[in-house]
Symmetry: C2
Subunit: 378 residues, 2 copies
Amino acid sequence: MTGKSVVTPWKVEGTVDYIKLVKEFGTQLIDENLLRELKEIVGDLHLFFKRDYVFSHRDLDKVLEDYLSKKMFFLYTGIGPSGNMHIGHLLPFLFTKWLQEKFKVNLYIQVTDDEKFLFRKLKFDEVEKIADDDILNIAALGFDPDKTFIFKDTEFIGKIYNLVIKTARKINFSTVKAVFGFTNETNIGSILFPAIQIVPTFFEKRRCLIPSAIDQDPYWRIQRDIAESFGYYKTAAIHTKFLPGLLGPEGKMSASDPRSTIFLNDDPETVREKILKYAYSGGGATIEEHRKKGGNVNVDVCFQWLKIFLEPDDKKLKEIKEKYQSGEMLTGELKEITIKKLNEFLELHRKRKENAKKKLDKYKYDGKLAKEMWQKKF
Amino acid sequence: MTGKSVVTPWKVEGTVDYIKLVKEFGTQLIDENLLRELKEIVGDLHLFFKRDYVFSHRDLDKVLEDYLSKKMFFLYTGIGPSGNMHIGHLLPFLFTKWLQEKFKVNLYIQVTDDEKFLFRKLKFDEVEKIADDDILNIAALGFDPDKTFIFKDTEFIGKIYNLVIKTARKINFSTVKAVFGFTNETNIGSILFPAIQIVPTFFEKRRCLIPSAIDQDPYWRIQRDIAESFGYYKTAAIHTKFLPGLLGPEGKMSASDPRSTIFLNDDPETVREKILKYAYSGGGATIEEHRKKGGNVNVDVCFQWLKIFLEPDDKKLKEIKEKYQSGEMLTGELKEITIKKLNEFLELHRKRKENAKKKLDKYKYDGKLAKEMWQKKF
């Protein structure tokens, strides 16, 4: 079931070879030295480093230098509102939250409603509804309301348009054709869009650090080619892998196939059903076979989810791994553990989401940073 | 001195064959029937019709029907701020003013500062300075301050962006490549731009009539291909020819060659010098030859300007024509007549421009229509 791997901001297919991707994209693996330095500065390391979910970067070392020399830096990330938000969307934001807490820096979150309208066959009002719900899901994570600005492109474009055209003037069709595979059939709004996603890297005259899944990196490659020509920093980036979807380790969790996906608003019963029915298992074909040969944790989606984010306790994870590999733990048991953990995770998230409603305006309009952004001249 | 004719929104070169252009662009010549109907409705005809300067249209007949049936229509035109405004820029606006007076309709004037920034190597602040001066030149003409909205793209984009992406989603690279000759080297901001110039045709759910030089027609062709698919009217248009530049009947007056151009802020002495020195003459090589063979009014730039806009009196124009053709009037005399008329024209314009300063905010922000536009949701 392996195929040719395809990774663009709009498509992730096949078995992703992350080492190859790092080479192709020209990024760097996060090594032990860098991790040690990071730990020295902030005191600890996020689970995602230990669990190999955050794995690659551009100029993270320079970001740390800028932090130590008090030049400082800022964070930027975003989301494309194309459907109900799922757990795969949330993880990079959880990581971003950790970065903001540790470094106490400004964070800009771009909601690319224009992108999703332009690239998908969605109605404008649908995209807006999804975008508003995404913002609430993001606000639920509890970013610093005075250091975080969340904006929808269609709402904020008037403030940043001058930067958009200054950026767009430096990028030609050849470039976006080569980088994103645009063709003569691509619509002219989509063709402009890369400029819009690049612009927030110019929000401050400091180095920008972008935590995001690696499929977004092609934008940052273009940014790095043009940034210095008009007095800005080449952006830094720190990349996450993809969360595997329920159907197996290939591709990424995608909102367009609900069978592969746990949405943030899936109720406990739905979560249970989906995992029991669809979660790709590394277990044996029969109980007998499983008891004899054990399960394969490398392809088992439940185990991967536990590893990446559901079981932070190293000892417990090790125990599960050993029991599953030895055949002592059956697929059904592993699934039940995952269902319980995941439902707790989602339940907590939904409570936080409910509470976030009253803080929304801070992030969008009247927190310290948001207010500054609405008054700023670019 | 004739060459291959090229007509795009960014280049007009060679001897323009207007009959051929009408065929190529798929527009229609304005015929006697249409002129008679127009005259019946509004009482008289603008000089530009009689002098064959306004010559082609799309759906003008339907516009008149909509007017008579009280469905009404609206006017839209614009300017690209690329340098000091010259007399060739002003004429379509004078014609637009006449249309607004006769039909009492709303008029939207788009100042495409983004376009000129994207297509030329100008600095952003330069474009803005030019744009602000253009707006003052336009306001000087005395449009109805409650029925006229003048806006710069970079200032109004936030209000119209949703319409821009809805429009852009319907136009692909193939189309703009074929229509405007864009290439792989065209920057992605320029590639989007046609959507921005099309959007004002959707400002009202009525037929739009665009008075403009014929080189802008390619935009309206695209508009007409997509408008009905999202519930708007195919735009109508009424086209002017190009005002010949000083250097001769080829191409059009262009701000990029000051020797070909009379700018609105050229003082009387400069006007005099330019005309004496550069104005392409249809006269004989020597006085003797001229007296014998007479002058050629078809190529004589001074005569053309008198015909198009400086001498509204048919009888006087006929007299000048006959005297020049017979050799009785020398080139020097024709030039003096033109210098006098042109300096009067410019003097009056500059007085009006000075007075327009206090009305500027009405057109841009707080006249009836402007206020509506800033409050409107698209």
